[in-house]
């Protein structure tokens, strides 16, 4: 038997998008609406799909070929609209390709959207069966795994309560545990880790690692580059419906870590009315930059990161203290930092525009996503000006190359910080502890 799990050849998928037109007058609108409905009617009567102009067509996937071996865990990433989800939809047979074909060897299970088909009026117990059947499990299979599913979801007490009474966390846990107990040879996962609370995400992740260790094939679509590097040895990068890179995860991802990838690296308030502000200071913008000064929202764990705050001082003669706070994805405050620049410390400032920059050294934060809060207070007297949560965010990637604090360990390290510590190990001879004890 061949060791190929998924083989995709020249796969393309075309979508038609609605035509956008400018309407200048109501009369135009009416005639246009009439014309459109007449055209639709005639198209319907003739039983023909419309002939769309070329610019109303988008190729969600264009000529994609790839092979995945059995037991391989492959990450798929890329900007929104790059065709990642379309690929999964074709592989799960939800939608058909326009051209090309794919061969799949093994039962496919998907976590495209967990909780699909849950009915809010039904109880947890009933939904386990319904959802299981929808995901392709046989009733006997669900019977067999029922206790396991319930235990994993931690909702024993609410098993006979309609799920509409569940908290969203309970709902997610139940949905994921049903999906996680599918036993397909090939598992397709789309961004499930982005939902639910932190402990739930951790559980999802552990389950996926377990599935991988069982030798099943995983295709993991995510924007969470940290999660991809940890779970998958190989990553495929999609851009504009095509594969733009395919190789070992750390290589593909570091090539993807080009500046200006996302919008979370910068936040600007153009309207002064809406900007966070107090009587004395007003926020203008917050930016994350690499050493080279590029806007960046994903940073290698070994690299330093610049965090800058642009603000206006509206009233003279106050001592201004800008500060940042950094939270991990569980909402834990990693640390906060106050502006210590001696140039303006303890000095009243004139009115004007300022930029304060803080440097986060490399090898300080653990891998994961951090969100930044920015605020300004005055000192002497302390007057709160503003504090804004989640202004910008960035991902820290620990790229497994062996020279970060994780060393050669490839698993989940946990924690909020990951400093490089100085380690020393001393050799104290070859005599065992027991020998020493018996001697003395």
């Amino acid at each position: 038997m061949s060791d190929i799990a998924i083989s995709v050849k020249n796969l393309s998928k075309r979508y038609r998008i609605g035509q956008r037109q400018r309407h200048n007058a109501l009369r135009d609108k009416i005639t246009d609406a009439m014309y459109t409905s007449l055209r639709r009617l005639s198209r319907f009567v003739n039983g023909q799909p419309a002939a769309y102009k070329e610019d109303n067509i988008i190729w969600a996937l264009k000529d994609v070929s790839l092979q995945v071996k059995r037991g391989e865990a492959v990450g798929i990433t890329g900007p929104n609209g790059a065709g990642k989800s379309t690929l999964l939809k074709i592989l799960t047979r939800i939608t058909e390709p326009t051209e090309g074909y794919a061969d799949i060897y093994g039962r496919v299970g998907s976590l495209l959207e967990i909780g699909t088909g849950f009915h809010s009026e039904l109880t947890g117990r009933e939904n386990i069966y319904l959802n299981g059947a929808i995901l392709g499990m046989k009733k006997t299979e669900i019977d067999r795994k029922f206790d396991e599913i319930v235990a994993f979801s931690e909702i024993e007490r609410f098993l006979d309560t309609p799920v509409k009474r569940y908290s969203s966390g309970m709902y997610m846990r139940l949905a994921f545990s049903v999906a996680a107990h599918l036993e397909p040879e090939i598992l397709l996962v789309d961004e499930v880790l982005s939902v639910g609370d932190a402990s739930f995400q951790k559980k999802c992740f552990a389950k996926m690692e377990e599935i991988r260790h069982e030798g099943r094939t995983i295709l993991f679509v995510s924007h969470n580059l940290g999660a991809i590097t940890r779970l998958c040895q190989r990553t495929i990068l999609f851009e504009e419906g095509q594969i733009s890179a395919d190789g070992p995860s750390h290589q593909v991802i570091s090539s993807y870590l080009t500046p200006e990838t996302g919008t979370t690296a910068e936040k600007i308030w153009t309207d002064p009315e809406k900007a966070p502000q107090g009587e004395i200071a007003r926020l203008r913008a917050v930016r994350l930059r690499s050493v080279e000064g590029h806007l960046i929202d994903t940073i290698d764990i070994r690299q330093p990161l610049r965090v800058e705050m642009e603000y206006e001082v509206l009233k003279p003669d106050h001592i201004i203290m800008p500060h940042f706070a950094f939270y991990n994805e569980e909402g834990v405050l990693a640390f906060s930092a106050h502006d210590l620049d001696p140039a303006w410390r303890r000095r009243p400032r004139p009115v004007g525009l300022y930029v304060s920059t803080a440097w986060i050294p490399g090898n300080l934060l653990a891998d994961g996503t951090f969100s930044v809060g920015a605020g300004i207070d005055t000192i002497d007297p302390i007057i709160f000006q503003f504090y804004e949560y989640d202004v910008v965010a960035f991902h820290v990637i620990d790229s497994l190359e062996g020279d970060s604090a994780r060393g050669d360990f490839t698993g989940d390290m946990g924690g909020v910080l990951r400093p490089m510590l100085k380690w020393s190990t001393q050799y104290n001879g070859d005599e065992s502890y027991t020998k020493q004890c018996s001697k003395s």
Partner: protein
């Protein structure tokens, strides 16, 4: 420098994987496609669970619960008895008018509810269509089958009424299962067309209530089909529910005549509609997830 090799990959446990893996070939479908009715059989458990879901949730959070299943035909029967039976003096083939009307109303309710449910089924289950693969045919089919519970309940009321009016069914009652099957098949036949059309043209969901109103009067429910002149009888039978309703009266009340030609025309029409519906549904199926 970088180590790709992970220790756990060395021993991929072959034992956890079945020896023969199912193989799926995914490619664009062209031209005529097979009906793939075998798929439905493979997914019969899903069909069962969807029917079960529809039945379970139907009367959740209602005060009257399953009483709704009998209230609708009973109230309609009362209205018909007053206006058509008493005031307009519509003939009822020698059967007490309330029984005459009710006996026709229960297959009609089954048909009307099943047709409405299946016509809207794909749109109301679009969350499933866009997230999971399964033979799409299961959705309108389950919507039709879920109506059988209501039907069963209202049939019990009919038995009670027959007892009250002292009517004993003849051996013809044995054909009842076939007639129920024909009702279901009629609802599914039309439901397949409407559900597939509804995916692209939401006009359908506004058409269905009107359609059912007209259809109600084209069917011999408030009046006997013997009112229709003989020469129009075959044409009248093109409405499959005409044959079904008269069949019900014949099977249960045993007093009508002229069932023969009607029922066979009806059965033929249903067979043609159902086959056409299946073909149309299968042809449109692969665009559902993109269009809905």
């Amino acid at each position: 420098m970088f180590k790709l090799e992970l220790p756990e990959n060395k021993d991929i446990p072959e034992l956890s994987l079945p020896k023969t893996l199912p193989h799926f070939n995914i490619r664009p479908s062209h031209g005529w496609v097979s009906l793939k009715l075998k798929d439905i059989w493979e997914y019969r458990e899903l069909l069962y669970f969807l029917v079960w879901r529809d039945i379970k949730v139907r009367y959740k959070q209602t005060v009257l619960g399953v009483a709704w299943a009998i209230l609708q035909p009973i109230l309609t029967m009362v209205v018909f008895s007053i206006f058509f039976g008493r005031l307009a003096k519509v003939p009822s083939d020698g059967i007490p008018y309330p029984l005459f009307a009710y006996c026709a109303l229960i297959p009609w309710q089954l048909f009307a509810n099943a047709l409405t449910a299946s016509g809207n089924s794909l749109v109301s289950n679009q969350q499933l269509l866009t997230k999971v693969y399964f033979p799409r045919l299961i959705i309108p089919t389950s919507a039709v089958l879920a109506g059988l519970v209501d039907f069963g309940v209202s049939l019990l009321v009919l038995i009670g009424m027959m007892f009250y009016f002292g009517i004993v069914p003849t051996a013809a009652v044995l054909t009842l299962p076939l007639l129920i099957l024909l009702t279901i098949a009629s609802a599914l036949a039309v439901g397949l067309w409407l559900s597939a059309l509804n995916v692209q043209y939401r006009d359908v969901q506004y058409t269905i209530p009107f359609l059912m109103q007209f259809w109600l009067f084209l069917t011999p429910i408030a009046y006997p089909s013997s009112l229709v002149p003989e020469k129009w009888r075959i044409l009248y039978g093109l409405n499959p529910m005409a044959g079904v309703v008269e069949g019900f009266r014949w099977a249960l009340l045993g007093k009508t005549n002229g069932i023969g030609s009607l029922i066979f025309v009806s059965a033929l029409v249903v067979a043609i509609l159902l086959f056409g519906g299946l073909v149309y549904f299968r042809r449109m199926e692969n665009t559902f997830a993109d269009v809905v």
